[in-house]
Each structure stands twice: as structure tokens, then as C-alpha cells.
């Protein structure tokens, strides 16, 4: 009998994916209205590593470190957060089609974020907190609406999610009509998923810590999630503290969704598609699925955002639209191939 997963295989897989991510980041740094050659980029990176940033040309430093890099970091944070929360929801709800977007969790977070933006503009921490609360409340509501005769029914659950999403979107549109024209366009962009608004300096550490804490908390339950995906009752008989694990994943996945939505709006397909691709490539063991989904999600959003900046240049597209254009057909393909 072969070992299903060894630490060695886990680390090598993650390392390989990190190399791909690094490549994607380099391309994203290079491509833009001001093209930067790879050699310049390499030299500048070398300078950063050796702490000689003062030697860099100031306009390059501005473009690379003040414009492009923060946006790339945002893409990485959002991509990792959404994929891991999607993978978590899929195990928790025993539904391979679950994802924060489909379940309405993203819309709930968006509503929370908008309420905070309207009611308390300019107070930094309130928006992500309110988005988190919106996400938590939505998933709780969808969970209870998705049950029939005390059992979680996967079709009912997805329908409940879709209906919750459309209901919440209607509320969001109501709130948006109270805004002025200029704010409204920004808001509409944000709703489709957009990374062009840079993260406030004061919030960066909140996001980094939030991401690591959320992903880390879900990862501690990875071995348990494998069994919960087999069935809650069976997991319980195999020694899993089902209630505790579900609570941990539920809170962490909502936290990750709330964080992502509060900065980037409702980006779809990442949480659905990336875990599926990783399952397809590396198997459905959650011990390897969580870290690969985190890195894979980061890669997907970095690439999509680079495309969003460049395909219609100088006009920028919302990254959510790019992901949906590529994501929907790819997902249909995976769906038919895997579950037909």
C-alpha cells in the first residue's frame, strides 16, 4: 500500500506552485502602461534583496513598489482567501459546487461592506468587520434554509444560496441608488470584483494576519475535513469532533470571504474553480488541497488581474469579469469530465 500523502510530496508540490506564482508576479510587475524589461526588474529585485533601494530610479520605484506590487499583493491575498474558503465550504456543506459566490456569502459580505461604507465612511477597520458579519449571517441563513427534514439537501442548499444572493444584490442596489453618480460607478465596479483600489496602509497588516490566521485555522482541520467530506456521521464515529471542526471552518471561511470582499468586491469562480483544479491535479486530500488552493488561487487572481489591466488597455476591466469569462466554460468542462 502506498502512502496517500507524504510531507515530502506536500512540500515539493507547494514549492513548485510557488515558483509558478513567482513567475506570474514577475509578469504582472513587468506588464503595464509603462513596460519594464526583465533585466531592469531583475536588477531592481536584486537591489531590494540587498537593501539598496536608494540606487533605484525613483519613477521605477514608484511604479513597481507603490503601484504594481501592492496591487499584486492584494490579488494574492484575495485569491488565496477566496479559494481556501471555497474549499472549506465544499467540505463543510458536503457540496462540490459550494463556493462563497454561489452560496450568497460574497453578496452578504458585500452588503455588510456597503452598509459600513455608507454609515461609517473613513473608519478603516469597520468595513472588513462588517463584511465578515455579513458573510457569517448569510451562510448561517443559507445553511438553515438549505435543510429539508433536518438534513442538508444539496440542491435546496444551492437554490437557497442563489436566492439569497439575488435578494442581497437587490438590497445592495437599493443602497447604491442613495449614492451620487460618481460613487455609484465605483461601487458598481467594486461589486463585479475589482482590485484597482489599493489597500489602505493601516489595513495591510490586518489582512495579512487575517489571511494567515484563517487559512491556518482551516488547515489544522484538514485531516478532519477529509472525513467530514465522507459523511458527518461517519466522521463522528472515526473520532472527529464534528461540531468543533464545523465551527472553526465556518468562522474562518466567513472571515476569509469577508476580508476578500471588503477590498475587492464579489469576485466569483475563484472559490469554485481553483479547488476543483487542484483536486484534479493533486487529488482530493484536504491536507494538500488547502495549501495548493491558497497558492493556486493567488496565481489565478494575479494572472486574471494582469489580463484585466491589459486586454482593453488603457481601459481597465474588473477582474471579476475576466475570471467569469474564463472560469465559467472551464468549470463546465471540469464538471462534465469529472462527474458525468
Amino acid at each position: 500500500m502506498k502512502q496517500p500523502l507524504t510531507l515530502r510530496r506536500l512540500l515539493w508540490t507547494c514549492a513548485a506552485l510557488l515558483v509558478v506564482l513567482f513567475g506570474a508576479v514577475l509578469v504582472a510587475l513587468k506588464v503595464g502602461a509603462v513596460p519594464i524589461s526583465m533585466t531592469d526588474l531583475a536588477v531592481d529585485l536584486g537591489r531590494v534583496i540587498f537593501g539598496r533601494t536608494a540606487q533605484m530610479q525613483s519613477d521605477y520605484r514608484l511604479i513597481i513598489f507603490d503601484l504594481r506590487l501592492p496591487r499584486i499583493e492584494l490579488a494574492i491575498l484575495v485569491g488565496a482567501a477566496l479559494s481556501v474558503s471555497g474549499a472549506g465550504f465544499q467540505a463543510l456543506l458536503r457540496n462540490p459546487l459550494a463556493d462563497p459566490y454561489v452560496l450568497g456569502v460574497s453578496s452578504g459580505a458585500a452588503l455588510g461592506a456597503i452598509i459600513a461604507l455608507i454609515a461609517y465612511p473613513g473608519i478603516p477597520l469597520v468595513t472588513p468587520l462588517s463584511a465578515f458579519l455579513g458573510a457569517t449571517a448569510t451562510i448561517a441563513a443559507v445553511y438553515f434554509l438549505g435543510r429539508r427534514k433536518g438534513q442538508l439537501d444539496s440542491t435546496t442548499l444551492l437554490l437557497a444560496g442563489i436566492i439569497a444572493a439575488s435578494f442581497l444584490s437587490a438590497l445592495i442596489i437599493f443602497l447604491m441608488t442613495t449614492l451620487s453618480g460618481r460613487d455609484m460607478r465605483g461601487m458598481a465596479f467594486w461589486l463585479m470584483g475589482d482590485l484597482s483600489t489599493p489597500l489602505q496602509e493601516s489595513l495591510r497588516w490586518v489582512f495579512r494576519v487575517g489571511l494567515v490566521a484563517g487559512v491556518g485555522a482551516i488547515y489544522t482541520t484538514a485531516a478532519d475535513l477529509n472525513l467530514i467530506a465522507t459523511g458527518e456521521r461517519e466522521a463522528m464515529h472515526l473520532g472527529v469532533e464534528v461540531t468543533r471542526v464545523k465551527l472553526v471552518v465556518y468562522v474562518s471561511a466567513s472571515l476569509l470571504t469577508g476580508l476578500a470582499v471588503s477590498v475587492s468586491g464579489a469576485i466569483g469562480y475563484v472559490g469554485l474553480l481553483v479547488p476543483h483544479m487542484m483536486r484534479f491535479l493533486f487529488g482530493s486530500d484536504y491536507r494538500i488541497l488547502i495549501p495548493t488552493s491558497a497558492i493556486g488561487g493567488a496565481i489565478a487572481v494575479v494572472i486574471a488581474d494582469t489580463l484585466a489591466r491589459r486586454v482593453m488597455a488603457p481601459t481597465e476591466l474588473p477582474v471579476g469579469a475576466i475570471l467569469a469569462i474564463f472560469g465559467a466554460p472551464l468549470f463546465l468542462y471540469l464538471l462534465r469530465r469529472r462527474f458525468a
Binding site: M1, A223, E234, M236, L238, E241, D285
Partner: protein, 292 residues
């Protein structure tokens, strides 16, 4: 109460039964339960106080028609329900008070299969049984692999190792599920209607295997079933359930009384005594087999 089982079928040389053979491993003492639909409404279903004991290598069958309280009793034994009154003890520990992890190290449950969310290979499925014995991310050790391999061999399913669980037949799946339970290395093996989706050949094979495992691995086995004939053939002790009450416990010969079975199963039945004190049950109207 159990009436001094002597484990006649166990392959132990007579007169060489060690002392532990006689000690009670599972003690169900006046255990009762009640389901409420909501808060303080009258209970929708009650399980009246039930008692029996079981030793190692013993197969206990909880027998009864649908909705007789069999599964509730099994959940009380498994410790997933806490008895309303009375107690269920496994080697002196109340099963409902054990942590899920400790419980899973001692008690393995074989359910009717539930659908899998993602495709899983039989070997990975069996390795899940090692979960309660690991920590953290539980990277499988060489020992885990060895135990899982042995478990597959014990149920005669080594050849299924690399097959997908959704591609094997019902009988094969049941064997792999049983192998996962064995990989837990429990002392108490519980099975909930294990023969439900099996044809008669696979049913007999499963029960033969359980008998063998009980003696080989020193398990105490508790099987919930409504299969009268199979219970008669394989049980050391029968707990007969009806409308949430335990009507009688004892050897098949003691429990299989015609009036009692007819009352419980609400069907005209004939009971005759076969060899080795194992009763045979026929539905009246159908001709008994010619061999007697």
C-alpha cells in the same frame, strides 16, 4: 440478562478458556432514551430501560422490526446518544462520556454506506480508520499502512486496494467499509443493518466473516438486523426489540419462541429447532425445506 454464554462456536480448545473470557466487556444497564420533537412536548419515541451484557468474542444481535428501537439502542451503545437513565459501559467507561477520539479507538461503527463527495480509492478509505490513532495532519506512518493492509486482507479485499470506491460492487464496498472499521483496531464492533443491500451469498459471507473476526481479533460484535434467519444462525445472544421495549434477551434458542416472534414481527411464523441449538424460522404458508 445474558444467561452464561459459553461461546460454543468460538474456536477455543475446551477447558482452556482463560479468565478474561468470562469478564463482561459491554454492560448495558437499564439504559433508556426518549426523542422529543420539540422542547417539552411529549416524546415521539421512547426506548424503555434495556439491559444486557456482552463478553469478548461474543456476537450480539439486536433483532426487531422497523421502528422497534434497534438503532436507538445501537446509538446508546456507540455513545453518540447519552442515555436518559441507566448506563452503557465499555470496560468500565461510560461510552457517552468518552471523547470522540478515545471512543473511535475503542468502538468502530459500520453503517449502511453513505455517498462519497469526492472519488476515493479503497486503500485511502481503509486508512481513514487510522484517523483516531494519529495527531495533527496525520501523515500515515508505515505502521498505519501495515494495519490497513492487514485489515483489507482479513476481509479478503486485498485485490480491491487500488479500486475506486464508487466503482466496486455492493458486496465489495461492504467489505472495504468493514476493513476500515478493523483498521480502527476497536474492541467493540457495531454494525447497523449490514446485510441490507447484499444478496444472500454476500450476507452469509459477511456473517461468517464476523464470526471469524470476533474470535480471531477478540472483538465484541453487536449487529442490528431484522433478518430472523441470519440472526438465529450467527448470534450468540439475541436482544429482541418491539415498540421501543426489549422483550427478551438470551441465546437464539431461548428467544425464538413462536408466539413471541409472531407478536413482534406481526406475521404467521413457524419455529423449529435445528442442529447445535439454532432455531429455524419459516413463514407459515410457505413449505418448510424438505431436509427436516
Amino acid at each position: 440478562m445474558s444467561s452464561g454464554q459459553n461461546n460454543v462456536v468460538v474456536a477455543m480448545p475446551p477447558g482452556k478458556q482463560p479468565a478474561w473470557e468470562a469478564t463482561v466487556r459491554l454492560n448495558v444497564e437499564q439504559a433508556s432514551y426518549a426523542y422529543h420533537s420539540r422542547g417539552n412536548a411529549a416524546p415521539v419515541f421512547t426506548l424503555a430501560a434495556t439491559s444486557f451484557t456482552a463478553r469478548q468474542r461474543e456476537i450480539v444481535t439486536i433483532l426487531g422490526p422497523n421502528a422497534s428501537g434497534k438503532s436507538t439502542l445501537l446509538k446508546l451503545i456507540a455513545g453518540t446518544l447519552e442515555p436518559l437513565s441507566g448506563r452503557v459501559e465499555l470496560e468500565g467507561f461510560e461510552t457517552s462520556r468518552l471523547s470522540p477520539r478515545t471512543r473511535a479507538q475503542r468502538i468502530a461503527m459500520v453503517h449502511q454506506e453513505s455517498p462519497l463527495l469526492f472519488p476515493t480509492r479503497a486503500s485511502e478509505y481503509v486508512l481513514q480508520g487510522r484517523h483516531p490513532h494519529g495527531r495533527g495532519l496525520r501523515f500515515e506512518t508505515g505502521e498505519d499502512l501495515k494495519i490497513a493492509e492487514e485489515a483489507l486482507a482479513q476481509v479478503g479485499a486485498t485485490h480491491l486496494r487500488d479500486r475506486w470506491m464508487h466503482e466496486v460492487s455492493g458486496g465489495e464496498k461492504q467489505r472495504v467499509i468493514l476493513a476500515r472499521a478493523l483498521a480502527q483496531q476497536p474492541i467493540l464492533l457495531l454494525l447497523d443493518e449490514p446485510t441490507l443491500h447484499l444478496d444472500i451469498g454476500a450476507q452469509v459471507e459477511l456473517l461468517e466473516r464476523l464470526r471469524h473476526l470476533a474470535s480471531e481479533n477478540r472483538y465484541t460484535v453487536v449487529v442490528v438486523t431484522h433478518e430472523l434467519s441470519l440472526a438465529a444462525e450467527f448470534a450468540d445472544q439475541v436482544v429482541l426489540m418491539h415498540h421501543g421495549k426489549c422483550l427478551r434477551t438470551g441465546t437464539p434458542a431461548e428467544v425464538y419462541r413462536r408466539d413471541l416472534l409472531e407478536q413482534v414481527f406481526e406475521a404467521p411464523l413457524d419455529v423449529e429447532m435445528g442442529p447445535e441449538g439454532r432455531p429455524r424460522v419459516h413463514v407459515r404458508g410457505a413449505r418448510p425445506p424438505a431436509e427436516s
